[in-house]
Structure formats: C-alpha cells, structure tokens
Amino acid sequence: VNDSVLAFTLAAAVAAGTPLALAALGELVTERAGILNLGVEGMMLLGAVTTFLVASATGSTALAMLAGAAAGAALALAHAMLSISLRANQIVSGLALVIFGTGLSTYLGRPVEGVPLPPGARLGRWSLPWLQDLPFVGRVLFQQDLVVYATWVLTALIALYLFRTRPGLSLRAVGESPATADAMGLRVNAIRYVHTVAGGVLCGVAGAYLILARVPAWSQAATTNGIGFIAIALVVFASWRPWRALVGAYIFGLALRANFALQAAGVTAIPAEFLAMAPYLLTILVLIALSASDLRHRAGAPDALGLAYVREER
C-alpha cells in the first residue's frame, strides 16, 4: 500500500475515533461507579444540536462546546435521578434517554437541518510543532485538531484518577461493592451522581466535537449514526480500562474509515454495508470469546454494574 495513502487513512481513523473515545471514556467513568447508562446516543445527539445552535448564535467555538457538555450533563442528571434516587431500571431509563434525546434534538434541529456551521466556529487543524515533522507518525498523529490531543491528556488523567488517587479508589469501591463502600463511610449515591453526570459531560463533548470538526452540517440522521451504541460496546471491549478504550476507539475509527478507503481504492468485492457491519460483529465476537475464556470477571467489569443500591434492602 502506498505510504501516503496509509498515513492519510490512519490519520482519518484517529479523527473518526476521537468522538468514540470521548463517549467511551464518559461511559467508562459512569460504569465504574456501577451505573449503566445506555443513553450515550441520546446525550451525544442533544450535545451536538445544542453545540450547533449556540455556535450559530454566537460564533464561539468554546461557548458552543460548553453548551454541548452542559446538554449531555443535563440528560445524564435525569438518568442519575431516575436510576439512583428513584431506583428505576437502568436499562429502560438509558433507552428512554435515547428516545427523548433523539426526539428533542430532532425537534430543536428541524429548522436548521442541513444548514452548515458558521465557518469561524469550526475547529481548525492545529499541528504540533516539531512533532508534526516526524516521518509518518507526524502525519498520522500530530496534524490533528486540539480535541484529539486533549483526548490523550484526558485518557491519562482518567487512568491516573482511577488507579492512583483516593477518590478513584472510592469510585471503584462503589462500583464493585456499594454495601462495603457504604460501610467504609463513602457516600455511595453522591459518588454515583457525580460520575454519572461527568460521563454525560464527556458524551456531550463527543457530540459537540462531531458538529465542530467531523460533519459538515447538523443532520439528525447523519450526525451520530449509532456511534453512541458502539461506544457502549467499546467499554466492554476495553475491559473498563481508559487506555484500552482509546486504542479501541482508534481501531473502530479505522473500521469506520476503511469503508471509504476501500471504496476509494476501487475495492467493490465486499459491499459497503458488510464492511460497516464489521465493527459490530467484531465486538460481539470479542465479547463471546471473553466470556468463553471466563476472563470477563477478571477483566474488570464492576460487580455492581446496573444495580441500584438501597441501604435498607442490601
């Protein structure tokens, strides 16, 4: 394969994997607290449309991204209230988030469907000095935009937080055994609230990034396109570890982009739809293989994932 075509494809994979990585990191933090939020797609969509509306109104990229993060957080807060305080079924609540988020963002976005973003608000490329001149690697990794680099920093911070700090330890305790954490004097529900909302912030930012850097205009059908659901699978795929989630996101990004690359290269033996199925089927195979080898438990699934904690009923 031509060297520059490969570099181009890999760079595109990194860019395509970035929103996935952000959403997966958000979901990972939430799930580490024992809360399963299937509403990633809804939070991303609402984040995206809010970002678009604010960017169109103010022209400010930073404000728009903040608004997207806030929208994601608001939906996540609804999920937290339902599943933590009101003890609703987390699976159903998450899906309710998808439906409500999709409906609301389509409704809000209807008047601007297909309208392009004001050019000033787009997130531009921001190549890193020195590093961008590295042979091959420079073109793949260091000629990207700010959010791509911020994602690396964020991954490092989340890994550090989870495994090297006391609040991170508390978080993991709450996800593994809320009753024990409670007996230790940790405020289980407060910790769950904070990390569910933090996860929502990241999902909102993922949606914001899609609008600011990835897609040319707001469109309900083409903005997230199921990325939210891949992100949920990615967390399992990464066995709840941040760095693996980042690398996994880039692999999925490659699978998403390989489609276009192969078509551009004139490979038509495999239909585009089947190439697009690959990431989903791959994840299912990995999941089955993991459970067949009984690695899942040791691989890091929080023990109390998806279960409400009620002190009186433990």
Partner: protein, 391 residues
C-alpha cells in the same frame, strides 16, 4: 478510612445508630398498593410529561394547547383517527410482549428492533417466493411463521451465548440491531436481491408482495389482521405466564436463578427458550408490518424504533400483558398524531411526538417509585425509629 461524613454517624453499625440518624426524606417499601395509587401515578406522569413538553413548545414559539388538541383529535376523536392509532399500536403490542417475556426473567433483550427487521425480511421473502400460488389464509400463516423464525434466528447467537457462556445479552442484542439495519439496507439499496423491486431504478425500493399475501384489512380502514394476531399473542402470553408450567418456571427463574436451579428448573434451556420466544414475537411484528401495512420490505417505514418503543411499552405496563395492549394504544396514538401536526398553520415538527414519547417514559419511570415505595416526609416519625437495631 472512616472519615466522618456530613449526614451520617461515623460508625454506622454501632448501637443506637439508627435512632441518631437525622430525619430526612426517605422511601419505604409499600406492603400493598391501593388501586387509587395504581391509577393516579401514571396519570400524574403523563401530565408532567405534557407540562415539560409544553415548555419546549412554548420556547420554540408554538402554542402547546393547540398542539395537544390537534394530537387528541387526530388520534382518538374520530373513527379513522382511532383506526390509525390501532394500526400504529399493532407492532408496539408485539414488540412490547417481546420485551415483556424476556424482562420477566431478568434477561434484557434490547434487540427487538433488529429481530423485527429480520422477521420482516423472512415474511417478505416467503411472500415473494410462493405467495402468488397460494390462498391468502395459507400465506398469512406462512408469513407469520417465517417472521417468527426470522426473529428467532436473529436472537439465536446472543441467546446461545447467554445460556452457555453467560455473555452479556444487553450488548450483543443491541449491536445486532445496527447489523440488521445495514443488512436490510443492503437488500434494498446495495444488491439485486429478490426483495428489491427490479423496476425501481434511480430510487430503489422493496418489491411489492403479491396481492394474495396481503393481510386482510377491516372495512375501509387501514386496520389489518396483524392487530388480531397481536391481541391473540397478548392473550397467549398471559395464559402461558399464569396458567402453565413454563410460566411458573419463568417466575421462579425471574426471582432467583439459584432458587430455580435448586428447584430443578433447567436454567439453560429456559434462558434459551425465553429469548427465542422474545425474538419470535418481535419477528411476528415485522411480518405484520410487511403483510398489513407497507406490503414490501421498506427500510424507511420499518426503522422507526418500534423495537425500542416496545421496551418502553413493556416497562410502562409493569410487564403485564393486558397493560401492554393499553400502553401500546396510547403510544400508538401519540406516534400517529405526529403526522397530523404538520398540517397546522405554523408547521409544528412531527418530532414533538417522539419528544413526548420520551418524556412520558422518563416521568413514568420516575413516578414508578411511588407505586413501589411510599414517601416518608422529614417531619413524619418513622415507624421503627428506636426499635430493632438500637438494642
């Protein structure tokens, strides 16, 4: 480690801990639920959802009362409105039942969406292959069986993996939805399959099924045989759940897998059977949509979230087959009204319906807590305030 926290004594299990706990809002489980609560809670949820949606409507410059009036008129106030509501409710009853049977045993089939597509593919395939040469009655039966099989095939791998390897079925069934959507898109847009209309060049669409394979409709309405099938399915599921050994085993398994194992319930077999049943119901929904409504494999009219909505229907119905029928008709009405809104002079987007559906679900879920628990206000004296633990 035991840093004191703001709202609880440092050593919780110590004697007298419960008595010293500050009074605050708390929930206590209800022993029995009165009929008034059962009715009042869902009504309250719908009212709250309408209020929140009204806020968004007002913010975007529409009059909420007009919008709601149009929705009620479109879906529940005329003969044809009610008929169309029932048409929308038909697949929701079936996908609601699909979610119901799996959720009853704490298996989470989130893949009714994909199973419905595959049921539609199988039913349309049978109709296109043999429909012309057979009478309608045989066709209908064949299509329903094919639909059920299609749904079962689509859930087979997650079901087998769940039964034997304990692979998380939430993620596998969820991911297969996306695969199923790509698959039907390929059948219509990406290939020269028998499902694609050979005469549609520029804008590919599904091949119309032969007239003999169309589900009969009632009178001049669009209500079709699928509604009867759905109601019959609800009745059968109710019977199975309450009157058969299979239903009893489902209940035991739903309460506790360990208990079921000790009681001699074949757990693997039950897990497999329940998930296959769930897939079959979703598949039948797809068959009914093809046979009764779109009359071709049409990705655009199939992929409207019927499977996901079924999960909502089942949850709002508290996993009760009769409730599923009622909730499906209500949600069917909301969905059906979406189209009527566009005829309003200020062109209210039809997505109001989806937004409302989501809002109703969120509030219904939240208010469900009032059915299971009663609120103990901070000024109320808890019944066991200084008993039990304090000794």
């Amino acid at each position: 480690v035991s840093a004191p926290t703001r709202d609880r004594p440092p050593a919780a299990p110590a004697a007298g801990g419960a008595a010293r706990r500050p009074r605050r809002l708390a929930l206590e489980p209800r022993q029995e639920v009165s009929r008034a609560v059962l009715v009042a809670v869902p009504v309250l949820a719908v009212l709250l959802a309408l209020t929140v949606s009204a806020l968004f409507l007002r913010l975007t410059g529409h009059d909420p009362l007009t919008v709601y009036r149009v929705m009620v008129r479109a879906s529940f106030a005329s003969r044809f409105g009610i008929a169309d509501t029932l048409v929308s409710a038909t697949p929701l009853i079936l996908t609601g039942l699909a979610a119901l049977v799996s959720f009853r045993v704490k298996l989470w089939n989130i893949g009714a969406e994909g199973q419905l597509y595959l049921g539609a593919v199988a039913a349309a395939g049978v109709a296109l292959l043999v429909g012309e040469r057979l009478p309608t009655s045989v066709n209908v039966v064949l299509m329903i069986v094919a639909g059920a099989l299609g749904g079962m095939i689509w859930i087979a791998i997650p079901a087998l993996a769940r039964a034997w390897l304990r692979t998380n079925e939430i993620i596998t069934t969820l991911l297969l939805n996306s695969v199923a959507l790509l698959f039907i898109n390929w059948l219509i847009f990406g290939s020269r399959s028998i499902w694609r209309d050979p005469d549609s060049g520029q804008f590919p669409q599904g091949h119309r099924i032969p007239a003999a394979a169309e589900f009969p409709r009632f009178g001049t309405t669009r209500v079709h045989l699928g509604l009867l099938v759905a109601l019959l399915a609800a009745l059968v599921i109710w019977f199975v759940l309450t009157r058969t050994r299979f239903g009893f085993r489902m209940r035991v398994l739903g309460d506790s897998e360990d208990a079921a194992r000790y009681a001699g319930v074949p757990v693997r077999g039950m897990v497999l059977a329940v998930l296959l049943l769930s897939g079959a119901l979703a598949g039948i929904a797809g068959a009914a949509e093809v046979g009764g409504l779109s009359r071709r494999l049409d990705p655009a009219s199939l992929a409207i979230g019927l499977g996901y909505a079924g999960i909502i229907v089942a949850a709002l119905a508290r996993l009760n087959p009769g409730g599923v029928v009622l909730v499906a008709v209500l949600l069917g009405g909301v969905r059906n009204a979406g189209t009527a809104l566009q005829s309003l002079p200020d062109r209210v987007p039809m997505e109001v319906a989806v937004m409302l559906e989501g809002a109703i679900l969120l509030f219904a879920l939240g208010s469900e807590v009032l059915v299971r628990y009663r609120i103990r206000w901070p000024w109320e004296r808890p019944p066991d305030d200084d008993g039990g633990e304090a000794t």
